[in-house]
């Protein structure tokens, strides 16, 4: 479904991504784990084309997308829930959600999508007329995920969805991602919460200093010596 081949990206003199290649197959949950500043978010931005200065090939659903505009990517149903949620703080929860369906692919079905998201996340319905800036961390993350779902995604990319959340809320978010996957949406997940994310993923990549250094099944990586030492501290 998504194939990234030999992507290199520079931030000034610094090479942020070095020959990054990865595959996500239809229906899979794939996780990229790695420490801060490993280049995970940059990779996401390259795929979404909000960062455009890179070379390499990115294919989605058989189409080269590495020259597309960000809105064209959204139109294809490749949706990103960005790091730090990036909600529109002085818009209401409802307005935030509705804007999730801005692209051509989902605008006509805005009402139905909103019903669907409200059913899935009833707390958002209660908060509907509240400003997004007034939501708690967990609610804000739910709102960001709901906003992503509004686009009727073929594939959802989550950038650090558990960042800054209480442990119990992290589990809730992970459950939600699992359910979204079960409904047929392909998932690419970037996480620092290695244990939780590896548990729910089919496959995973480990990224360090802009390079993919390891790849494998989620469970296998969870049990591997190296990962346990480097990321789980056991």
């Amino acid at each position: 479904m998504l194939s990234v081949k030999n992507v290199n990206s520079f931030y000034g003199e610094v090479q942020v991504l070095q020959d990054v290649s990865l595959e996500v197959n239809k229906g899979e949950v794939v996780t990229i784990v790695g420490a801060n500043a490993a280049g995970k978010s940059t990779l996401m931005s390259c795929i979404s084309r909000t960062v455009q200065s890179y070379n390499g090939e990115i294919e989605f659903d058989g189409v080269r997308i590495d020259k597309f505009s960000p809105e064209k990517i959204v139109d294809l149903g490749l949706i990103q829930c960005p790091e730090g949620r990036l909600l529109f703080p002085s818009l209401t929860v409802r307005e935030n959600l509705e804007l999730g369906a801005f692209s051509k692919r989902s605008r006509a079905t805005r009402k139905e999508r909103l019903e669907y998201v409200y059913d899935l996340l009833p707390r958002l319905k209660e908060r509907s007329n509240q400003l997004a800036g007034s939501l708690s961390g967990g609610e804000a993350q739910m709102c960001a995920i709901g906003r992503g779902l509004m686009a009727n995604p073929v594939m959802l990319m989550f950038d650090e969805p558990s960042l800054g959340l209480a442990p119990i809320v992290v589990i809730e978010v992970m459950e939600l991602i699992k359910n979204i996957s079960k409904e047929g949406t392909t998932i690419l997940l970037v996480e620092q919460n290695v244990r939780q994310s590896l548990k729910l993923s089919d496959r995973a990549y480990v990224m360090e200093n802009g390079k993919i250094i390891m790849e494998g099944k989620g469970r296998d990586l969870l049990n591997s010596e190296e990962i346990r030492k480097a990321y789980l501290g056991i």
């Binding site: 979404s48 909000t50 809105e71 959204v74 990036l86 529109f88 307005e95 804007l99 686009a151």
Partner: protein, 286 residues
């Protein structure tokens, strides 16, 4: 007392026009983050257009309003596309210098094409008055006020009650997130510029029956809009409406109680006080 009331209403009427001219500037700054020092020149161009339409085709400024506004919209788009889009990521000082240059080019273009003469558009409404009890008001000014306030409030509702308006506010709040929603930033900026310039053009055509058109007719408005917008809180539309009305009132009262020479000084004084005591503006955040 009656006279004071007349001064009050007169100030309010001018203030409405200042509000309309300013909301466009606030919109452009608030959504696209662009500083436009040539804003007043578009008011001047709309005045000239209204004048020539009357001079050549005997269409008064209200009859030619739709063509005038369409032309302003096109001008707004062209200005954005060929000039402003190139400085989207530049610092405000570069945008300031660029648009200051643009304003001089437009003023001198007007001077070259139409000379420095004052061009008066005298239609029936120029001299007719509305008598409301003790008040004697110029019909053209009342009409200008009503349309100006209606258009400014309509802009506010457009931004807050429509889907496109929500998308524009989203762009203002977080450009990257807006892109991830599939919103095209440059198209949004272009739309912002079109609306902003059309609104200042509307202000221009509304005052054409009252004031003459000349090459620097827009310049005082350009400065005034900046003051209004700073007082109102830069990107706030209600702030710009309030600021416009406030400046109109201050100008009117200062003129009456202290002397016409003090009109401008009075609102500059307010401007300085706001900058010192509430630099984020009366309606600004933070």
């Amino acid at each position: 007392m009656e006279q004071v009331f007349q001064v009050f209403v007169s100030g309010l009427l001018s203030g409405g026009i200042y509000a309309l001219a300013s909301v466009g500037l606030a919109l452009i700054f608030g959504i696209a983050g662009l500083v436009n020092f040539a804003h007043g020149e578009y008011l001047m161009l709309a005045m000239y257009f209204a004048f020539w339409m009357y001079g050549i085709f005997s269409l008064d400024p209200y009859q030619s309003a739709l063509i005038n506004l369409a032309l302003m919209a096109i001008l707004g788009y062209l200005t954005y596309k060929f000039i402003m889009e190139r400085v989207l990521d530049s610092s405000h000082s570069i945008q300031m210098l660029l648009t200051l240059g643009l304003s001089m080019v437009l003023q001198n273009l007007a001077l070259m094409l139409w000379k420095a003469d004052y061009r008066n558009t005298r239609i029936a409404m120029t001299t007719s008055t509305l008598d409301l009890g003790p008040l004697h008001l110029s019909t053209a000014r009342v009409l200008a006020f009503v349309v100006a306030i209606a258009a400014s409030v309509a802009l506010y509702y457009f931004l807050h009650k429509t889907y496109t308006g929500a998308a524009m506010r989203a762009v203002a709040q977080n450009g990257k997130a807006a892109q991830l929603m599939g919103i095209n930033l440059k198209k949004t900026y272009a739309l912002t510029f079109i609306i902003g310039i059309t609104l200042v053009g509307l202000a221009g055509l509304l005052i054409t029956p009252i004031y003459p058109a000349f090459p620097t007719a827009g310049a005082p408005y350009g400065i005034l809009c900046f003051i209004v917008v700073v007082i109102g809180g830069l990107s706030s539309i209600p702030g710009a409406i309030f600021g416009g009305l406030l400046i109109g009132l201050i100008e009117s009262f200062a003129g009456y109680f202290i002397g016409p020479a003090f009109q401008q000084a009075a609102y500059f004084l307010l401007f300085i006080l706001v900058l010192i005591f509430k630099p984020s503006g009366l309606f600004g955040k933070g």
